[in-house]
Amino acid sequence: MDRTTIDLWVGVFVALGVAALLGLAMKVGNLTSNKIGDTYSVSAAFENIGGLKPNAPVKSAGVVVGRVADIKFDPKAYEAVVTIKIDKRFEFPKDTFANIYTAGLLGEQYLGLEAGGEDDVLKNGDKITQTQDAVVLEKMISQFLYNKASETDPKTDAGGAKSDAKASGEKSGEPKSTELGDAPF
């Protein structure tokens, strides 16, 4: 095999390797925007976005209608501003509700849109005012425990008092009974 053929094949080989590395870096490793036709972007502010990530799906009634384009932190309001891109074919009323949901127990988080009843529709650059934050599991658990504790606290107190009385009664069983026995007579 002559030298130019070998050079050509080695060139192809190295080019393939560089392409694979670039592909790994761009497609597997880094962010690349993947587009879904023509879109319009809408923003929504959340106090807590949980684990929502750029490029996460935006669903309405469970159907993917767009993607999360960008997540920024607003240093004035201390809120997360999520920019979403919605497919031009789908129009949503101005009073649409934006929620952050989790797919499954450990699944990824996505943004859910629940359409409101207004006639005006969201346009490019509009802001969704009605939002609900992501559910943070720790918060939920601590709230649950707090509720549980406040629910059972009086009961346990009462129970404690009762058992205290019982214990004291048992302990001082003999003298009490004599006292009691003494009293009426």
Partner: protein
Amino acid sequence: MKSILFNGLSKLLRGIGRRMIERIWRLGAGARLFFLTIIYSGESFRRFHLTLREVYFTGVMSLLIIIVSAFFVGMVLGLQGYNTLQKYGSSEAIGVLVALSLVRELGPVVTALLFAGRAGTAITAEIGLMKTTEQLSAMEMMAVNPIARVVAPRFWAGVISMPILAALFSMVGVLGGYLVAVPLIGVDDGAFWSQMQASVDVREDIVNGVIKSVVFGVACTMIALFEGFDAPPTAEGVSHATTRTVVISSLTVLALDFVLTSFMITV
């Protein structure tokens, strides 16, 4: 009775000792060949077409086996990963599973194992046969250094080819996993890539994978070269050397992988 037992025991111990000494001797000779290769590798860059020729034989000729096996490995990872992940309702994480296991471990390791089988054996057999037919001695007689002319270009070709093959393996494997997960099973396309992109770090995962494959390239090629260079000049000797190349390369790659991973994870 006693003397038979004693004789047997001493024979066993002597055998173990001889084997140990031989292994250590081979390790030392291999290290010496490695340093000589580095010292005499000037010519393989001055006359770069020598190295390019070897890149063709070790790298380009391994393309097919690497791409086909990567594709199947990726597809199997996709199927198996989905099977487990959907039990926890997080089948979107399949992209992360496929990409991380390929980029961090399977890409470099399986490529190195295939490389040892496909290219390492060829190197050992070629050099062993060169030695058997006294081509290496003839070179020395003509004042051509066989390490500079034969060993070093093959060494650098292996070191250049391995990371390229490993990167290709990872990329093709990810595509195979994608093919199973998205069109076949129906995992969301965007979630597949977005979760993958969110979890795969360029520095931590991809660059570390490339570092691994370079180290494996040095180890595999050097073992193949040494076994060929050291083979007894008989047909049987060359065949034994070829077998040893595969066995030692595979074990070395797996052991090195553990060492490298432990360094990379703690640091």
